[in-house]
């Protein structure tokens, strides 16, 4: 397989991988690095590409696993530094206060969701995959996908309602 063929295959979904990575890792640079790494891994596996029935779903799963590993090792690094943990809580509150418009407020709410809910919301509401596809990509049961999605949406709603009635931000 030549580079042009490969780029033609990954082209339609590389933005989706990036957006998922960014949802999980938050920082743009880290998400870009992660996406690049995933695409390079796929390129290295290009000989087997014919064997995957769905390259896109496979790539999404790879991205999920890669980012969760990243987060895990980052967390492990953070736990040693007890003081930064305290600071971390304070700064995220700071960020919430700083959220200027209501759209970036939603983004802050998203950052506080558990990883699985973040991914489900991202893959459904932003990427518009159906439940079976998401279940396949995240290695979950379709019913679990629905439950996680409903919870994520409801959490966002709850926080938005709070904000609306108290007029924070």
């Amino acid at each position: 397989m030549q580079q042009a063929d490969f780029l033609k295959i990954v082209g339609p979904f590389q933005d989706k991988l990036y957006r998922l990575a960014k949802r999980l890792l938050v920082s743009r640079e880290e998400a870009e690095d992660a996406t690049q790494e995933i695409l390079l891994k796929l390129w290295a596996k290009k000989k087997n590409m014919g064997q995957y029935k769905n390259v896109e779903a496979f790539a999404v799963t790879m991205t999920k696993n890669f980012c969760l590993d990243r987060l895990k090792s980052k967390q492990a690094g953070n736990l040693k530094l007890v003081h930064t943990n305290y600071k971390e809580g304070g700064s995220s509150l700071q960020k919430k206060v700083e959220a200027k418009d209501s759209v970036s407020w939603v983004q802050k709410i998203m950052e506080d969701l558990p990883e699985q809910q973040k991914m489900v919301l991202q893959l459904r509401d932003v990427e518009e995959y159906d439940y079976d596809e998401i279940a396949d990509m995240l290695e979950m049961k379709p019913t679990a996908v629905r439950v996680a999605l409903s919870r994520a949406r409801k959490t966002v709603r709850e926080k938005l309602m709070q904000k609306h009635s108290y007029g924070i931000g």
Binding site: Q14, K22, E32, L40, D101, Q107, D125, R153, M161
Partner: protein, 149 residues
């Protein structure tokens, strides 16, 4: 879309019961300007989703130099192996050739020496044979004398 409908859809949206198409309708609805007050709190959520869809992976992808299909590393190693074999071949070939040449020179020398020795022998034999000629003379003379008597 009617307000009642939107509210019903929203209800189902939060139960994760809507289809992708219905969710599209909701996003459409909330992207408009005139949203009633009681639905306004939901607008940021759909605004956020619409914005999130627009993010792009902007980093150029470098896949490294284009390689020939398959077996390219095998080919590389094969040529290295061939070069090594060739070098050893030249090295040992040269030693073998040198040995052969020395052997040939020695053989040539031995041949020359032998030839010289044989020549010497042949010369002496010649001299011996010349002397034998006198003996022949003697035999002939004796025969003549004997025959006359």
């Amino acid at each position: 879309m009617e307000l009642d409908n939107v509210k019903k859809l929203l209800e189902r949206y939060f139960e994760a019961d809507t289809t992708v198409a219905e969710e599209e309708l909701l996003r459409d609805y909330f992207s408009k300007e005139n949203i009633p007050d009681d639905l306004k709190p939901y607008a940021p959520l759909f605004g956020f989703i619409a914005k999130a869809k627009k993010e792009r992976f902007a980093k150029p992808l470098d896949l490294g130099p284009e390689k020939k299909l398959g077996g390219s590393s095998l080919y590389k190693w094969l040529s290295i192996a061939a070069a090594v074999v060739l070098m050893f071949g030249v090295y040992f070939g040269k030693t073998y050739y040198d040995e052969k040449e020395v052997e040939q020179q020695q053989a040539q020398y031995a041949y020359n020496e032998t030839k010289k020795a044989l020549d010497l022998l042949a010369q002496n034999m010649e001299r011996g044979t010349e002397k034998m000629a006198y003996l022949n003379e003697f035999v002939e003379a004796k025969d003549k004398i004997y025959n006359k008597n």
